[in-house]
């Protein structure tokens, strides 16, 4: 005979210190053990997909900032790539390199947050987060120099980027690149070898490669499960085919490996950046778009708007959180007919129940932290 306590339901969220936004997790508990987990989302649902159907292609770029607000660059990039695919635009070389550089800087900033917040979820009282913030601030400074914004960047444009980087950008970026490896070493020392973090995250929330693939998991979570899949390598966009880097892959697919993969990816991003800063060519940063696609619309005023041909395009990139895809259907009008975001945060949540049933409340928090969701992107 076993003694069981009465199962009871705990709502983690929508207002809770570690749901990373307004996300709600309904846990049914037997004591501290989770017997059922249900996700409730939509508290940040802004209906972007509907809104985008009434805005021109350029007007939609700011929306993509506001999905994954911790990685606005990659959001921009995926969207403009989808539109470029639809319009068959050839992007100038320098713009491709700039996109690559920005995306990698954004990856470092985003992973730094992920790693720091993960340590916070493990119970380290703010210290790792604050250290990560220090590096992220420096990167945001670079973004500010390039485009004037720090968080919602709106930097990418259909056919290139909004403007070239100022001359003093390069020296500052190089200085940052020189500083970062030392810091990363420190973090790896303090966090990766931390006995308590290892005890808290080893063997928790394990996903096998088969499970991860079947549950459509992508990004660091998929790679932590041992699948070497990185869109940057598998289907290089931007200038990724010209730089040398490795895919970081985990061993056991648990929470700890997701953490390790993110740390390793920050290193790889540094590697890419070091090469990219040397290899970036001079030239225009915006494609010249023919009048065939740029036509006046509406009455009585007639501003110019892109009119992609009828058809559909699906472009996906490797955002810090995983495979970020934009599916755009055009009917020849200046606004997308259908605008769908395949958001990695949202889809990476699908195995949450699988991972957390049988664990304790504390584990559920760590697992949720390891998924690294941004609620803006989950709910869109």
């Amino acid at each position: 005979m076993t003694i069981k306590s009465e199962p009871f339901v705990v709502n983690i969220g929508p207002q809770h210190p570690s749901t990373h936004g307004v996300f709600r997790l309904r846990l049914t508990l037997d004591g501290e053990k989770i017997i059922d987990a249900d996700m409730v989302m939509g508290y940040l649902h802004r209906s972007m997909e509907k809104l985008a159907e009434e805005r021109t292609y350029t007007q939609n770029i700011p929306f993509t900032d506001r999905t994954d607000y911790l990685a606005a660059m990659t959001g921009n990039l995926a969207y403009v790539m989808a539109v470029e695919k639809l319009m068959r635009v050839e992007v100038p070389e320098r713009a491709l390199w700039l996109r690559t550089i920005m995306a990698e800087l954004q990856r470092i900033a985003s992973h730094a947050m992920a790693v720091g917040i993960f340590a916070n979820d493990c119970g380290a009282w703010q210290t790792p987060v604050m250290h990560m913030f220090r590096d992220r601030e420096k990167i945001l400074d670079l973004f500010e120099m390039a485009c004037g914004a720090r968080l919602t960047l709106n930097y990418m444009r259909i056919g290139g980027v909004s403007k070239d980087i100022p001359p003093e950008w390069m020296p500052q970026a190089r200085k940052l690149l020189k500083d970062l490896p030392k810091r990363f070493e420190e973090y790896e020392d303090l966090l990766l070898n931390n006995e308590i973090i290892i005890a808290r995250s080893r063997g928790i929330g394990t996903l096998t490669p088969e499970q991860a693939t079947s549950y459509s998991v992508s990004g660091p979570m998929l790679r932590a499960s041992g699948v070497a899949w990185d869109v940057r390598k598998a289907d290089p966009y931007g200038a990724y085919d010209k730089v040398d880097f490795d895919i970081a892959v985990g061993r056991h697919g648990d929470v700890y490996d997701r953490f390790v993969v993110r740390v390793a990816e920050m290193r790889q991003s540094l590697r890419i950046l070091e090469q990219a800063l040397d290899m970036i060519p001079e030239g225009p940063v915006h494609a010249r778009l023919g009048t065939a696609t740029v036509q006046p619309w509406g009455q009585p005023v007639a501003p110019l708007a892109y009119r992609p041909p009828v058809g559909e395009a699906y472009a996906r990139i490797e955002s810090p959180r995983g495979e970020l895809g934009y599916y755009i259907v055009s009917d020849g009008s200046p606004a997308p007919f259908r605008f769908h975001i395949r958001s990695p945060s949202f889809i990476n949540l699908s195995p949450l129940k699988l991972m957390s049933v049988g664990m304790t409340v504390a584990d559920a928090i760590v697992i949720l932290g390891s998924v690294d969701i941004v609620v803006g992107e989950v709910d869109r």
Binding site: T127, N194, A228, D246, D363
Partner: protein
């Protein structure tokens, strides 16, 4: 200096001052009970004042120090260098509306903070701040420390239960499980000093350490370690702060408390921290003595200095360490610390017996005991950890595999524990 001995203006021991006052009272022919009441009132008010001031100071220190560890400034706006921030916070808490949730059990909800605050304060009665500065030097002082800290347990439970909040309930349950487990460890750890001193009076423990010019810390390193860990549990300090784990159960058993009721919990937590630090200082680190320096410097200053140093260690861990999980914490208490402390108590008993029976000189005996305990403790800790599967290299961090091969799978199932 020695002219001062025992006069009322001898500030090296505030007990002298109070003693002088009581003598005056006696001289003017006051009845015995007035003297009794006056002395306890002075002691109680003194302790209350000291704890409140120390709390305020340490709230500031903790916030500044942790801020330093986290690359930020900490409170720096109210008063010079933000010194008045804790005062402002306290005022804010006092002025806030004391909300009672509708579904809470009103009486117990109100009783919770009080029940927690009183024992946290009462503990200081047996702490010897200086030779004559003990409010009540009970001859079961060591037991008193643990017994009074034990009152916390039902108080925390009642606070959590009365809130009628699931986070509170979880927090309360965690706290109880934790406190009860670590209370046993604490008692067993305290057997060490008590067996050496063969008295449970706190004053005697300090006197013993003074007499042999040693700190019990040197002859009981493992015991002190266990006591520090148990103390961290009792005061909800990181890495054992799971009962109010912010990232998991919001604020644990005091989630529903606001205003000054929360203030009570907050201060009780600090008081518990001071009490643990005071016990460590008294029982393991020589109390108010510092190898003769206490004759010149006020003894209570030495005591407070040591106390704050020990308390600082708790702040330090709070700024650096992540948190353990409840089952890991319980396993650590029952599987690791408890057997270790049982063996430790056995070893100490044997040592004391051999020492007493054979009339060995104090110095060689203490040196031998210290060496034996250190080596034995180290072997025991390492060996036991290895036996439980820790520290065998398996726990080391692993780095990611780097590959260029797209689509390959590098998965090895986690070996079963």
């Amino acid at each position: 200096m020695f002219l001062l001995k025992g006069e009322w203006y001898d500030l090296r021991d505030l007990g002298n001052t109070v003693g002088g006052l009581l003598d005056d009272l006696r001289d003017i022919g006051a009845p015995d009970w007035t003297i009794y009441v006056t002395s306890s009132l002075i002691g109680a008010v003194g302790i209350l004042l000291w704890t409140v001031l120390s709390c305020l100071a340490f709230i500031w220190i903790e916030r500044r120090v942790v801020a330093l560890m986290q690359n930020r400034k900490g409170p720096n706006r109210v008063g010079p260098a933000g010194l008045l921030q804790p005062v402002a916070d306290a005022l804010k808490l006092l002025l806030k509306e004391a909300v009672t949730p509708r579904s809470a059990d009103r009486v117990i909800f109100w009783a919770g903070p009080v029940l927690i605050f009183i024992p946290a304060l009462v503990v200081f009665a047996v702490i010897p701040f200086a030779p004559k500065m003990t409010l009540a030097d009970l001859n079961v002082g060591v037991l008193f420390l643990i017994a009074i800290a034990g009152i916390n347990t039902p108080a925390v439970f009642l606070a959590g239960w009365a809130s009628n909040n699931k986070y509170s309930m979880l927090g309360a349950m965690r706290t109880i499980a934790m406190l009860i487990s670590y209370e046993i460890v604490q008692v067993l750890a305290l057997l060490g000093p008590v067996l050496f001193v063969s008295s449970m009076r706190m004053g005697d423990v300090v006197a013993w350490q003074d007499h042999f010019n040693t700190w019990i810390f040197f002859i009981q390193p493992v015991g002190l370690l266990a006591f520090i860990i148990a103390g961290a549990v009792e005061t909800n300090r990181s890495p054992m702060d799971i009962s109010e784990a912010e990232s998991e159960i919001v604020a644990g058993y005091h989630t529903e408390y606001g205003g000054i009721k929360f203030g009570f919990f907050y201060q009780a937590e600090y008081l518990a921290g001071f009490a643990i630090a005071a016990s460590i200082v008294t029982l393991y680190m020589g109390g108010y003595t510092l190898w003769g320096l206490e004759d010149y410097v006020p003894a209570w200053l030495i005591f407070l200095g040591k106390l704050y140093t020990v308390f600082f260690v708790y702040i330090w861990t709070r700024g650096t360490l992540p948190r353990l999980r409840i089952d890991q914490l319980m396993a650590f208490a029952w599987k690791f610390l408890l057997p270790l402390m049982l063996i430790n108590a056995l070893v100490v008993g044997a040592e004391v017996l051999i020492w007493r029976e054979n009339d060995i000189d104090a110095t060689p005996a203490l040196l031998a005991i210290g060496a034996v305990n250190l080596v034995f403790g180290a072997i025991l800790v390492a060996g036991w950890a290895r036996f439980l599967g820790h520290g065998t290299g398996k726990q080391r961090g692993q780095r990611a595999i780097l590959t260029q091969e797209v689509g390959a799978v590098h998965f090895t199932p986690e070996p079963a524990p």
